[in-house]
């Protein structure tokens, strides 16, 4: 059934179709619509689940992990500061090996406070042991939540997953979503049957026990890494099955107009749509360019990425985040993974764009590709990273700063 819905509603539909048992929650813009939608369905009897509003995101994630450890299927959602507030629990959940699925609606971090998206929030959870799936469209959100449960609950994985998407650009944007039938989802995603964490009077367990022996600590933490490696294979199996059942590919690395591309943009999340449009415009100008979108970020799909970037003259990575003192997080990840690969792109360039939801215009994408081409053709030295910031952005910033300091007496 096709419906018009926001990204947030698509996330709620994902949880509903996964028939989750328990939803601990705490509101934060721009995520709140997800839990509002779920609570409405539960109140009106359209969905059966226990819905509990907690006192903070930290408690929320603790409750999520604990409930999952009893064998319940658990869903929760947060954003930005909320994710950071819950941070220590992320590592606990992966250590407990509980298959919670959490949505993060990306929003730039304070200070200064903002409501619009960038990815410093989600990328800070990079090393936590959560799988990460990043979405470009509302359809991908719904699909990714179903896929996330299937992978997380696989015995070879048993790790929690974060499904990520952009605030405003996706959370509040309505587009058409094909909602699968519940019977079909049930066939794809059967009931969760835990084998290592459950709550049974006849079979008492002590869970999440302290480990003070360092060999054993190394062993357990490395198991999380091994499980992540398995998750790459499991993802492949699951995407095949998903595509067969629902007719939608959800490749870990998506390619757009890459067949004969010499240069490519590499992006994640909703701004990829802007990137695709820019690719079309550049193609009209006879620039051989395509776009590579990372959908799976943890585990990192190195092999797929090698395949898709093979022989490129230049790869321009657009990071919607910044690691001060280093640069773009995804640039570092991709470059380090491709470094030892013979057929890697000749040049990899790094751009920071879209911080706090700032638009990336077609000209800015074209600038990134032209710069990459120049570095390749003229062997000029590379400047890393380059901020995508326009004359107009600079003017706007200056005006606002002037007003803040009383320099501009104009109407604010």
């Amino acid at each position: 059934m096709k419906k018009l819905m926001t990204g947030n509603e698509a996330a709620a539909w994902g949880a509903r179709l996964a028939e989750v048992d328990y939803i601990p929650n705490f509101p934060i813009t721009p995520q709140t619509e997800i839990i509002e939608t779920l609570s409405k369905w539960i109140r009106e009897g359209e969905m059966k689940a226990v819905f509990r509003t907690m006192d903070s995101e930290h408690s929320m994630l603790t409750a999520a992990g604990s409930a999952s450890a009893t064998g319940a299927r658990v869903f929760t959602a947060t954003s930005s500061q909320g994710l950071l507030y819950a941070f220590e629990m992320l590592y606990n959940l992966s250590g407990w090996r509980v298959p919670v699925v959490m949505v993060n609606v990306s929003r730039g971090l304070s200070a200064p406070i903002t409501l619009e998206p960038d990815h410093n929030d989600i990328l800070s959870a990079r090393d936590s042991g959560f799988l990460q799936i990043h979405c470009e469209t509302a359809q991908e959100i719904l699909d990714s939540i179903l896929v996330a449960y299937k992978i997380s609950e696989d015995k070879r994985v048993m790790l929690p997953t974060i499904v990520n998407f952009d605030g405003f650009y996706l959370s509040f944007t309505r587009e058409i979503v094909d909602v699968p039938k519940l019977e079909d989802v049930r066939k794809f995603l059967p009931e969760y049957k835990p084998t290592h964490t459950f709550f049974k009077a006849s079979k008492p367990l002590a869970q999440g026990t302290p480990v003070l022996n360092s060999s054993l600590y190394s062993y357990f933490r490395y198991q999380v890494h091994r499980a992540m490696e398995n998750a790459l294979d499991v993802y492949k199996e699951v995407k095949e099955e998903f595509n067969k059942k629902f007719g939608r590919p959800i490749d870990e690395v998506e390619t757009y107009m890459m067949d004969d591309a010499e240069y490519a943009l590499l992006m994640t999340n909703s701004f990829s749509t802007k990137g695709k449009k820019a690719v079309i415009k550049m193609r009209e100008k006879k620039i051989n360019v395509g776009l590579i979108k990372l959908r799976l970020f943890r585990p990192f799909p190195t092999k797929e990425l090698m395949k898709q970037t093979r022989g490129l003259k230049g790869l321009a990575i657009i990071d919607q985040n910044i690691s001060p003192g280093k640069g773009g997080v995804i640039y570092s990840e991709v470059s380090s993974e491709l470094y030892n690969y013979e057929e890697k792109p000749k040049v990899i360039t790094s751009f920071i764009g879209g911080l706090g939801g700032k638009n990336i215009s077609e000209t800015e994408f074209e600038f990134a590709i032209n710069y990459t081409r120049k570095v390749y053709e003229e062997r000029t030295t590379l400047r890393v990273p380059i901020l995508l910031f326009t004359e107009e952005d600079k003017k706007t910033s200056k005006t606002l700063i002037d007003i803040a300091h009383g320099g501009e007496k104009n109407e604010a």
């Binding site: 018009l4 200070a111 200064p112 409501l115 405003f168 650009y169 996706l170 509040f172 944007t173 309505r174 587009e175 058409i176 909703s270 701004f271 749509t273 802007k274 695709k276 449009k277 079309i280 415009k281 939801g357 638009n359 215009s361 077609e362 000209t363 800015e364 600038f367 380059i386 901020l387 995508l388 910031f389 326009t390 004359e391 107009e392 600079k394 700063i401 007003i403 803040a404 300091h405 009383g406 320099g407 007496k409 104009n410 109407e411 604010a412």
Partner: protein, 292 residues
């Protein structure tokens, strides 16, 4: 592809307008995207919403810089430098303005195809409140050529979602139909994207006095003249006023001064919320529609 941009003020219902148009287009079988932008919410503050309608999948995200159709629910927004509602408009764009002035008044200022109707008057007659969501949705639906039955269905669907009762839905379908019949379908010229060419520049280091989020210019909020937000103007009838100070205390904008033992409204900052009217125990504050 048709890109529609709605400009209005918080409380007028522009988000609902964009959703009604979106749903109506979806019901007609098009690809659709709709999206509102509002900051920290405040009644009367500028709001922007968008609807994109297309026969093909849509490759757009966020703000529409080059609308084919612009609907401005409040002419005073034209004076708001930050909102700048006609930004990105081309000669082919259609601009609809809700105003009690005539088309010639706006024509030279805007220089595009301008359509003007006094929807606030209709809203007051039909709905009893200056809420424009369904009227503007009706206008938009007709301009882009959507069939009336889909408009009506969309109004019903969207209003049900926000918990409207049958009576309200009936009145709003009527309002939408009136909006629909006020205008004619327009031919949309498919112009090339007008997204302006921009120049990427370097950002150098600046000293922290400038490069941190600090405001040294204190008490500057009076510079933001919220007086342009008014649809209705409160007028104090001093013969009736007994100087009880309630209006003075309740005004959320501190737009009522106390002078010579009487309240005086500062119209540059009064945003027209009419709380003073509500609170005055002697009904000494009258309401006049702005511009009348």
């Amino acid at each position: 592809m048709i890109k529609v941009r709605f400009h209005g003020r918080g409380g007028q219902g522009m988000k609902t307008s964009s959703r009604i148009l979106g749903t109506a287009a979806f019901l007609s079988g098009f690809f659709v995207q709709d999206f509102p932008i509002y900051g920290a919410e405040r009644r009367g503050a500028p709001v922007v919403a968008f609807t994109i309608i297309s026969k093909e999948p849509i490759l757009e995200r966020g703000y529409i810089f080059d609308p084919n159709i612009l609907l401005i629910s409040d002419e005073t927004l034209l004076l708001d430098k930050q909102t700048d509602p006609t930004k990105g408009m081309s000669k082919e764009s259609i601009v609809f303005i809700n105003s009690n002035k005539n088309e010639d008044y706006f024509k030279e200022k805007i220089g595009a195809k301008v359509i003007v109707e006094d929807l606030t008057k209709i809203a007051l007659e039909v709905l009893g409140r200056p809420i424009l969501s369904t009227l503007i949705a009706g206008v938009a639906a007709k301009l882009v050529g959507i069939e009336q039955k889909y408009l009506e269905e969309a109004v019903k669907e969207e209003l049900e979602q926000i918990g409207a009762n049958e009576e309200m839905i009936r009145k709003n379908i009527l309002a939408a139909t009136i909006g629909y019949n006020k205008v004619q379908e327009v031919k949309i010229e498919q112009t090339e994207s007008l997204e302006p060419e921009v120049k990427v520049v370097e950002v150098e280091y600046n000293d922290p006095e400038i490069s941190t989020p600090v405001i040294s210019f204190v008490a500057n909020s009076y510079l933001k003249k919220t007086g342009t937000w008014r649809v209705f103007k409160p007028i104090i009838k001093y013969q009736k006023c007994k100087s009880c100070r309630l209006c003075y205390v309740y005004c959320p904008e501190s737009a009522i001064k106390w002078e010579n033992n009487f309240p005086v409204i500062d119209y540059e900052n009064c945003k027209g919320c009419l709380i003073c009217v509500q609170e005055c125990p002697l009904k000494a504050i009258e309401i006049v529609r702005e511009g009348e």
